[in-house]
C-alpha cells in the first residue's frame, strides 16, 4: 500500500485528467456525435426502407386482390352478357318462327281463298257448260221427238199430265 501510494503521481493525475477531459470533449464533438448520428440515421433509413418494402408488399397484395375482384366482375359481366345474348338469340329465333308461321298461315289462307274462288268459278263455268250441253241435248232430243205428229201429241199429253200434278 505504501509502495502504491508512493507510485501514485499527483502530477500525472492532473496531467492525465486534463488530457482526458480534452480528449473526451474533442472525441464527443468531432467523432462520436457525428458517427452516432450517422449510424442512427442509417439505421432509421434501413428501418424506413424495410417499412416501405413491407408497405409496398401490402399494397401489391391489395392491388392483386383488386385485380382479382375486377377479373371476377368481368367474368360475371361476360356471363350475363352471354346469357342475354343467348336469350336474345332464342327470342329472335322464336319470333322469326312465329312470323314465318303466320306468313305461311296467311299464304295458305290466301291460297285457300284463291282455290275456293277458282273452284266456284270453275263450278259456275261447268254449270253453264253443262246447262248449255243439256239444252243442246234437249234440243236435239226434242227435235227428234217432234219429228212425227204422234210424238208431238204424246209429249203434250205427258206435259199436261205433269202440269196437273203440280
Amino acid at each position: 500500500m505504501d509502495k502504491l501510494l508512493n507510485d501514485f503521481s499527483p502530477g500525472l493525475f492532473v496531467v492525465s485528467t486534463i488530457l482526458l477531459l480534452a480528449l473526451i470533449a474533442l472525441m464527443v464533438k468531432f467523432a462520436w456525435k457525428p458517427i452516432l448520428n450517422s449510424l442512427n440515421e442509417r439505421e432509421e433509413g434501413i428501418q424506413g426502407a424495410l417499412d416501405a418494402a413491407e408497405n409496398a408488399k401490402k399494397e401489391m397484395e391489395n392491388l392483386q386482390a383488386d385485380n382479382q375482384k375486377l377479373l371476377q366482375e368481368a367474368r360475371l359481366e361476360r356471363e350475363t352478357m352471354l346469357k342475354e345474348a343467348r336469350e336474345l338469340k332464342a327470342k329472335m329465333i322464336a319470333d322469326a318462327e312465329e312470323e314465318a308461321q303466320a306468313q305461311a298461315r296467311k299464304m295458305i289462307e290466301q291460297a285457300q281463298a284463291a282455290i275456293d274462288s277458282e273452284k266456284k268459278a270453275a263450278m259456275a263455268e261447268l254449270k253453264s257448260h253443262v246447262a248449255g250441253l243439256s239444252i243442246d241435248i234437249a234440243e236435239k232430243v226434242v227435235r227428234k221427238e217432234l219429228s212425227s205428229k204422234n210424238n208431238q201429241l204424246e209429249l203434250v199429253e205427258e206435259m199436261l199430265g205433269e202440269a196437273t200434278l203440280n
Binding site: L23, L26, M27, A31, I35
Partner: protein, 371 residues
C-alpha cells in the same frame, strides 16, 4: 498509388521514431547497464512499470564501452517552491539515483526512482537515510509530459484522427471504407453491447460518448503497452484513478431520486437497519466502486507487464541451468503465449472497465417501479 501512400505513411512513422533518437544517442554515460542477476531483473521490471521522464526505446553499450540510450527526451514541468520550472529530461542524462543534479532557475533537482526532488538550497548532493529516502530534499508537483502523458497524447491524437476520419466518411457515404470499416463495428459493439443494455434505452445516448472514449482509450493504450515502445499508461495508478473518478463523477452527478433513495434510505427494509445500510451503500457507491475500477485495471495491466518481462528474463536467470538455447527457447515459448493472452486481456480490461462504468451509470439512472 495506394501502396505508395501506405509506404509513405510507414516511412513517416519510422522517421518519427528514429529522427529524435539521433538527438538523444549522443547523450552517453559510462555505466554497466547489464541486467543479469535476479535483483537487477527485478529492479529493471519495477523501473519499467513506473512512469519515466524520457522516452527511451532501448539502450546498448558500444565498442568504446559507452552506454548509449536510443529514444528522445520529454519536457519536465515542475511546480516548485518558487513557481514553474521547465527543462528537458535529457538534462538528467538518464540518471535515476539522484547523482546527477540539475540546476535551473537557482533551484537544484535530482531524479530518484522516477520521482523528481527539489533539493535544499545549500545541498550539493542528495543525502539518504537508511530507508533510502532523501533527507535534504522534497518531492515537487511534477506536471511533466512523462512517457505516460506522452502516450496519452499520442494515442489521443491517433484516436481523434481515426474516428474523426470515420465521422467525415459518413458525410459522403453510408458505408465506411478502409480502416473505418474496422472501427465501425467496434463503435456499434460498444453502443449496442455495453451502453444500451446496461444503461437502458432511455438514457444511454447521453453516456455513449464517454463510454466509447474510455473503451478505445484503454484498449489502444493496453495494446500500445504490448508493443516494444514500452508504454505502461493503463498500469499507472494516476491514470486509472483518473478514469475511475470520471466514472464516479458521472454516475454520482446523474443519479436520480430513486438512486439516492436506495442509497440513503433503503425502502423495503426495517427502519433500524436503514442507517447501517446507508453507510454501506455510501461506501460502496463513493469508494468501493471506483476503487475496484481503478485497482482492477491497474493491477491487471501491471501484472501483465511484470509477467511478460519476467518470462523474458528467464533467458538470463535460467541461462546457467538450462543453457543458452534452452533458456532462450523456454523464455520465447512462454512469453509468446503470455503475450497472446495479454492481447486478450488488453481487450478484456477495456471491456470490463467500460461495462462496469456503464453498469454503475445504469444503476444511477434506472427508474424503479415503486414497491
Amino acid at each position: 498509388m495506394k501502396i505508395f501512400q501506405q509506404s509513405f505513411k510507414f516511412l513517416a512513422l519510422v522517421l518519427f521514431v528514429v529522427l529524435p533518437t539521433s538527438i538523444f544517442a549522443n547523450d552517453t554515460k559510462k555505466e554497466g547497464g547489464q541486467v543479469d542477476t535476479k535483483e537487477e531483473v527485478e529492479a529493471y521490471i519495477l523501473h519499467h512499470i513506473q512512469d519515466s521522464h524520457d522516452f527511451s526505446l532501448f539502450s546498448y553499450t558500444n565498442d568504446a564501452g559507452e552506454r548509449k540510450h536510443v529514444g528522445f527526451p520529454l519536457p519536465v514541468i515542475l511546480w516548485t517552491s518558487e513557481g514553474l520550472v521547465t527543462f528537458m529530461s535529457s538534462e538528467f542524462h538518464h540518471n535515476d539515483d539522484g547523482s546527477v543534479i540539475v540546476e535551473k532557475d537557482g533551484l537544484k533537482f535530482a531524479k530518484i526512482h522516477s520521482k523528481i526532488y527539489e533539493l535544499d538550497k545549500d545541498a550539493s548532493e542528495v543525502k539518504f537515510d537508511e530507508d533510502h529516502h532523501a533527507t535534504n530534499g522534497h518531492k515537487v508537483l511534477d506536471f511533466s509530459i512523462t512517457k505516460s502523458a506522452f502516450g496519452i497524447l499520442i494515442i489521443g491524437l491517433l484516436m481523434l484522427f481515426w474516428f474523426s476520419k470515420l465521422a467525415r466518411q459518413y458525410k459522403k457515404k453510408q458505408i465506411p471504407t478502409g480502416f473505418g470499416r474496422v472501427l465501425e463495428p467496434l463503435v456499434l459493439y460498444v453502443r449496442d453491447e455495453i451502453a444500451r443494455p446496461n444503461i437502458g434505452e432511455k438514457h444511454y445516448r447521453r453516456f455513449t460518448g464517454y463510454l466509447l472514449t474510455v473503451f478505445f482509450f484503454i484498449w489502444v493504450l493496453n495494446l500500445a503497452g504490448l508493443t516494444p515502445l514500452g508504454f505502461n499508461v493503463t498500469g499507472q495508478l494516476a491514470v486509472t484513478a483518473c478514469l475511475a473518478i470520471f466514472t464516479l463523477v458521472i454516475y454520482t452527478a446523474s443519479g436520480n431520486k430513486d438512486y439516492w433513495m436506495h442509497i440513503l434510505w433503503m425502502p423495503g427494509v426495517p427502519v433500524l437497519i436503514r442507517p447501517v445500510l446507508a453507510v454501506i451503500e455510501l461506501a460502496g457507491a463513493l469508494l468501493i466502486k471506483p476503487f475496484s475500477l481503478l485497482v482492477r485495471l491497474f493491477a491487471n495491466i501491471s501484472a501483465g507487464h511484470i509477467v511478460v518481462m519476467s518470462l523474458i528474463a528467464i533467458m538470463f536467470t535460467l541461462k546457467d541451468s538450462l543453457g543458452v538455447v534452452g533458456a532462450t527457447g523456454l523464455s520465447f515459448v512462454l512469453s509468446f503465449f503470455i503475450t497472446l493472452i495479454e492481447v486478450l486481456v488488453a481487450f478484456l480490461q477495456a471491456y470490463i472497465f467500460t461495462m462496469l462504468s456503464a453498469l454503475f451509470i445504469g444503476m444511477a439512472v434506472a427508474e424503479h417501479e415503486h414497491h
